[in-house]
């Protein structure tokens, strides 16, 4: 409300200026109950009513003046109407007498406005009155006229927003938007511009023109902390952001969401803006000009709207967490997983269970995307613990399983997928879980189990993509277990059944692989030609050339082999690299050693990666050695050592160094090399020392080897040791029960969990557990060693240990499987075979199946007589078991056979054999007497 003195002063100033002396001469009288008032009395009454906010009385009074005095000379002279009509029009407008208001204002503008400072005000007020009285077309025209004549861009912008609203009401949306767009381009920043921009955005949103709305949102500079329309901006931004997110424009969506405040903050800002606006409104109202009334209307409307926004905002549900979900998703889609992590981690702590569960499940995905697998497991477990019944829990289980697989924690992963498969809660996850479990079985080399699961998926899943993949895997499992014939049959079937070229081509390539493995080289070549013809440019093209090269190499057609190897492109660096090695090998086999060397030397420059560079040097040195070129071999190794030897990632360099171990003075040479290596090249020095120790070990100088190995952790911090040194030394030291070994292996586990040397740690720690008498832990470590890798030469040894541990833990069937699997391997040594048979014999012995046990023992001393200790134990145990079975003669014969062999004269088993023989003889004698 305006303060009284200022309003009075304003009106009097307007009405009386220069004319009071004349006006007072006019008077009016009424007779018989009619009130008589003079003009000054009427003016006083009108101004007083106006100042009190009694617009009705004021409007009636001013109308009376016009009615009574419009024919008077003073009126006709123009002085009175020039002053009175704008204010009476405005007063009538405030009293909602829009027709009267229009009449007075039109009269003023038509006849008395020339040179009047109130023309602008009257024009605007008339436009408002016309709007209110429903004369939209005239109102639009009036606003247009006002903005065209207005000198203030800001005032013109206010008029534009009114005009645009009216245009929109009359379905002239395009005109409305065009008008707003052109105004925004020239209007300076300010409240009016903000209003115009928001109106334009709303129009665009209502007409589904979200991209346009987005453009205005991004291009307008919002003074977010001061604008009272912040709520409108926020909700418009959410709408546009949602559309953009849906359109896969996360970056733009994020820009929209960033314009939105949390509810609490928005309320605070709205309140502050409201207070500031109220203050400004009051200030403007005190200004003594008609212009101020123009802004009075504008601010009045903004205040009214702001108040209603505030009320609506206070009563509405808090949307902040829903907004956060949108932002998180936008960050994820934009591949900004760290930011997504922060948001979803925050949401996971929500008191709203539904939101918290969404937070957890998305947090897991962010962690996985950032390759924070360990963390993703912890989060997934927390999710399942807190929201086991939520609809996101099922997917979390899948995520948990796949994270465990990534960390090679296969046993736990198997449990998770099995729990999904066996539970009836998540039918839609049944096949994905089955598929994932099958993949784990493949990695664990449990091919029949894998095949069962894949077969179930391929037979029943509704998802064709899944089905085809599963079918492909069924064939592949046969291949992986060495059943090439079955694999071939399945791939042939797949090739004829599959429709998509991607899978058809894959089957054909695999057919060729099976044929190669079966030695059907001609068929293989035919299949490969067929692949090249049918699927040019497909994924396996380079591998096809490589395999064709191998086929011709197999047939001794070296020139053809080399020609195909040379066709391999550099698209896949590993295949390309392998082709180059094969070229050299083909030359070498064909007796063209110089060519082999030349081709390798030429190719050295291609390999930028350390690993490939080392392997190609290794191959070169090997060929030199094969041809007795010791010096060249040595210089090649030295060269690679100098270039890559000190690089932490050069793990395969050990093979290079060890190539030279047949050379005379190898050990001394290594010492010299180590001596000449700079002190700062710690990694290389460690590697050289490790090679020396391993050499000594192979020479049977175990004690010296141990001393050298012990020096490594004693002289250097673990952090400075290269990973393969940690692995080899840790394992060797664990074997001799050195605490340093255990520490090194634990360090390896902790800091290099994804390393290919990790099996050293598992095996070494199993040995430590065995020494500690912890059979369960020993087995747990051994179970972690799931497959053979070139970097872990102790795989068979570890599998033997696993079989024995299983046996001692009464898991006889599993133990038997492990030993039989070892025996199936073609490449294992005779000693390992003998040990596997010993394991099987002991396993049967523990199950009290003495006959089977004896059969295994007998196979050992028949087939593998070279290994004294194993053979001695086999003789002894056979004899003992024969005794237990009551077959004294066989027992005695076995003992005699043992005793006949000179090598066992001082063997520890001799005394037991002698005792067994005595008992057998006694039993025989007793039997004879009987």
């Amino acid at each position: 409300m305006l303060p009284l003195p200022s309003k009075l002063k304003l009106l009097r100033q307007i009405l009386y200026s220069g004319r009071s002396a004349v006006l007072v001469l006019f008077s009016t009288t009424a007779v018989g109950g009619i009130e008589f008032s003079t003009l000054p009395q009427l003016l006083d009454r009108g101004t007083h009513a106006f100042s009190q906010g009694d617009y009705h009385t004021a409007a009636d009074t001013f109308a009376k003046i016009e009615e009574l005095y419009s024919k008077e000379p003073e009126w006709e002279s123009g002085a009175l109407p020039t002053k009175l009509l704008p204010i009476s029009g405005y007063t009538a407008f405030k009293a909602s007498k829009y027709d009267l208001s229009s009449y007075h204002l039109e009269l003023f503008l038509d006849e008395y406005s020339e040179d009047s400072p109130n023309e602008n005000f009257a024009s605007f007020c008339l436009a408002l009155a016309l709007t209110e009285s429903g004369e939209t077309a005239k109102a639009i025209e009036q606003f247009r006229s006002f903005r065209n004549s207005s000198v203030s861009i800001e005032q013109a912008t206010v008029a534009v927003t009114h005009e645009a609203r009216l245009l929109k009401e009359t379905n002239q949306i395009k005109q409305a938007n065009d008008l707003l767009v052109s105004t925004l381009a020239k209007s300076p920043a300010g409240r009016a511009k903000t209003q115009a921009a928001l109106l334009l955005i709303r129009n665009y949103i209502e007409n589904q023109q979200f991209d346009n709305a987005g453009t205005v949102l991004f291009e307008t500079h919002w003074s977010e902390n001061a604008m009272p329309e912040l709520a409108v901006l926020s909700f418009s931004a959410i709408e546009v952001g949602d559309y953009l997110l849906q359109q896969n424009k996360p970056r733009e969506a994020l820009l929209c969401y960033r314009l939105v405040r949390d509810k609490v903050r928005l309320l605070e800002l709205q309140k502050e803006a409201f207070a500031e606006l109220e203050q400004r409104y009051e200030t403007k109202r005190r200004e003594l000009s008609m212009e101020a009334h123009l802004w009075d209307d504008f601010y009045g409307r903004v205040l009214h709207n702001t108040q209603s926004h505030l009320d609506a905002l206070s009563n509405m549900e808090d949307y902040s967490e829903f907004l956060a979900i949108r932002k998180g998703k936008a960050f994820s889609n934009e591949k900004r997983y760290r930011e997504a992590w922060l948001i979803f981690e925050n949401l996971s702590q929500s008191v709203n269970d539904e939101i918290s569960s969404i937070g957890f499940s998305n947090w897991i995905r962010s962690a996985k995307a950032l390759e924070r697998t360990e963390e993703s497991i912890v989060i997934a477990k927390a999710h399942l613990q807190r929201h086991p019944e939520s609809k996101e829990a099922a997917n979390t289980l899948l995520d948990l399983g796949s994270s465990l697989v990534d960390l090679k924690r296969f046993d736990e992963a198997l449990d998770v997928f099995t729990s999904i498969i066996e539970s009836q809660q998540h039918p839609n996850l049944y096949y994905p879980a089955l598929f994932q479990r099958a993949i784990i079985f493949v990695r664990l080399k449990q091919f029949p189990n894998a095949r069962n699961d894949f077969a179930l998926v391929s037979q029943s899943s509704d998802d064709n993509h899944f089905k085809t993949q599963a079918q492909n895997w069924v064939a592949l499992t046969y291949f992986l277990e060495g059943s090439f014939r079955e694999s071939l049959d399945h791939f042939k079937k797949n090739h004829s059944e599959f429709n998509k070229s991607r899978y058809k081509s894959e089957s054909l390539y695999r057919i060729a692989c099976c044929q190669f493995a079966l030695g059907e080289i001609d068929n293989c070549i035919q299949s490969l030609y067929s692949y090249i013809e049918s699927y040019p440019g497909f994924l396996r093209e380079d591998e096809t050339y490589l395999l064709l090269g191998d086929c011709y190499l197999e047939e001794g057609n070296f020139s053809e082999a080399i020609a195909y190897y040379q066709k391999v492109s550099s698209s896949f660096v590993d295949v390309y690299f392998h082709a180059h090695l094969q070229i050299a090998f083909a030359y070498e086999l064909s007796g063209q050693v110089d060519q082999a060397i030349e081709s390798l030397e030429q190719s050295l420059q291609h390999w930028t990666g350390t690993s490939h560079a080392i392997d190609s040097h290794h191959e070169l040195a090997r060929i030199f050695l094969g041809n007795g070129q010791w010096e060249n071999a040595e210089s090649t190794v030295t060269q690679v050592l100098q270039k890559h030897g000190n690089k932490v990632e050069a793990e395969n360099i050990l093979n290079c160094i060890q190539l030279l171990n047949k050379k005379e003075n190898y050990f001394q040479n290594l010492s010299t090399l180590a001596h000449n290596t700079q002190q700062t090249n710690i990694t290389l020095r460690c590697r050289l020392q490790l090679c020396q120790a391993l050499f000594l070990k192979n020479q049977g100088k175990k004690h010296q080897a141990e001393v050298m190995l012990l020096e490594l952790p004693n002289e250097l911090e673990f952090e400075k040791l290269p990973i393969e040194v940690l692995a080899y030394s840790g394992l060797e030291l664990a074997r001799i029960q050195s605490p340093a070994g255990e520490e090194m292996l634990n360090h390896l586990l902790r800091y290099y969990p994804e390393s290919k040397y990790i099996n050293f740690a598992h095996y070494g720690l199993s040995i430590t557990s065995k020494f500690d008498g912890d059979k369960i832990l020993e087995l747990a470590w051994l179970n972690k060693i799931s497959q053979a890798t070139p970097e872990f030469p102790y795989f068979q040894e570890s599998q033997l240990a696993k079989g024995n541990a299983l046996s001692l833990n009464h898991e006889y069937k599993s133990a038997q499987t492990v030993f039989e699997e070892i025996l199936r391997q073609r490449t294992i040594s005779s000693e390992h075979k003998a040990q596997a048979l010993l394991g099987l014999a002991r396993n049967e012995h523990l199950q009290a199946d003495y006959e089977k046990s004896i059969a295994y023992y007998q196979r050992i001393y028949t087939l593998y007589p070279a290994y004294d200790n194993i053979v001695a134990e086999s003789y002894t145990q056979s004899a003992v078991l024969f005794g237990k079975l009551g077959e004294a003669e066989k027992a005695a014969n076995t003992c005699r056979e043992f005793l006949r062999q000179k090598r066992f004269e001082a063997h520890p088993f001799k005394s037991q054999i002698e005792l067994t023989l005595e008992q057998a003889m006694a039993n025989l004698s007793a039997a004879t007497q009987l």
């Binding site: 991004f218 977010e224 970056r251 820009l255 949390d262 903050r265 760290r338 922060l342």
Partner: protein, 301 residues
């Protein structure tokens, strides 16, 4: 007519005196005018004159509902100086405003306590960080309004940082975060911790810290937010996350945030030049590079 004029004049003088005098609104609704003379024995003292007073009244704080200080002229002058960014000028007025209110700290409404905040701000703007920090320590145990207290704590953080006391700044920042201060409110605590981590070449940690305000914050505090972006971009470079680096650069531009040329204190020291070299080992970079060159090498957004 003359009499009427004299009457109006007398009224004006009376009104002026009312305005210049301090006022206490009591719990019973009564208003007492006078000149506040501080506290004594736990009582608020109100005298009948500013100096050479004849009588003095004592009020228990329990009986006072509201303080009103009769120094509107100073308030107005302060406002004008601040509007013109004349912080030295404002400080003169604010010193008087604050001195007058200081005895009643703890009894004042938020509106009056806000002068203490303005005073601290003005000290900061005139680089008197030490004085500001000391004053904050004296006042923060008495100030009642939580919002003002938190803002003062942020000032402490800022001024400790600016006055080259990173360990104190770190302490305050960690305390603020531990007490649940949200990165959506103000990025400074995260900005400071991220800077320190960047200095130590802990790029991953620096990245996570600087991303907090970027993720949750609005563009209220453009300067500190821009610094957070700069730190995050450098850290993304350090962690070799090229995708994130580019996203942040694009977003910084879209949010109209200027690349911080003057990154936090620590980046200007020689050791950090080396750190930046480490994260961008492209040919042409050397220890002699200055920061501007490094920014150019990294690709100024």
């Amino acid at each position: 007519m003359m009499r009427r004029l004299l009457y109006i004049f007398a009224l004006l003088i009376f009104a002026f005196e009312l305005v210049a005098k301090d006022q206490l609104t009591l719990n019973d609704g009564g208003k007492v005018f006078g000149y506040l003379q501080g506290m004594e024995g736990g009582y608020v003292r109100l005298a009948d004159a500013e100096q050479n007073w004849q009588s003095i009244r004592r009020f228990s704080p329990d009986t006072i509902r509201l303080f009103h200080f009769g120094d509107n002229d100073l308030v107005e002058a302060t406002k004008q100086s601040l509007e013109q960014s004349d912080y030295y000028g404002a400080l003169k007025f604010l010193t008087r405003l604050v001195e007058k209110r200081e005895p009643y700290l703890g009894l004042l409404p938020k509106k009056e306590e806000a002068f203490f905040l303005k005073y601290i701000h003005a000290l900061g703007e005139t680089q008197q960080f030490g004085k500001a920090l000391g004053q904050i320590k004296l006042w923060e145990i008495q100030i009642q309004n939580a919002e003002i207290l938190q803002t003062l704590e942020l000032c402490s953080l800022n001024y400790s940082w600016k006055s080259n006391d990173p360990s104190q700044a770190q302490l305050i920042a960690e305390e603020l975060i531990e007490n649940g201060y949200k990165s959506s409110l103000h990025p400074t605590p995260w900005m400071i911790l991220a800077s320190l981590e960047l200095e130590k070449e802990n790029y991953e940690r620096a990245l996570w810290l600087s991303l907090q305000p970027i993720t949750f914050g609005a563009s209220d505090e453009a300067d500190d937010l821009a610094t957070c972006y700069s730190i995050a971009i450098l850290s993304a470079e350090g962690t070799r996350d090229e995708t994130l680096k580019q996203s942040l650069q694009r977003e910084m531009e879209a949010r109209r945030l200027a690349w911080t040329r003057e990154l936090p204190r620590t980046l200007n020291i020689g050791s950090h030049t080396i750190a930046l070299e480490k994260i961008d080992p492209r040919p042409g970079t050397s220890k002699s590079l200055n920061l501007t060159q490094i920014y150019q090498t990294l690709g100024q957004p």
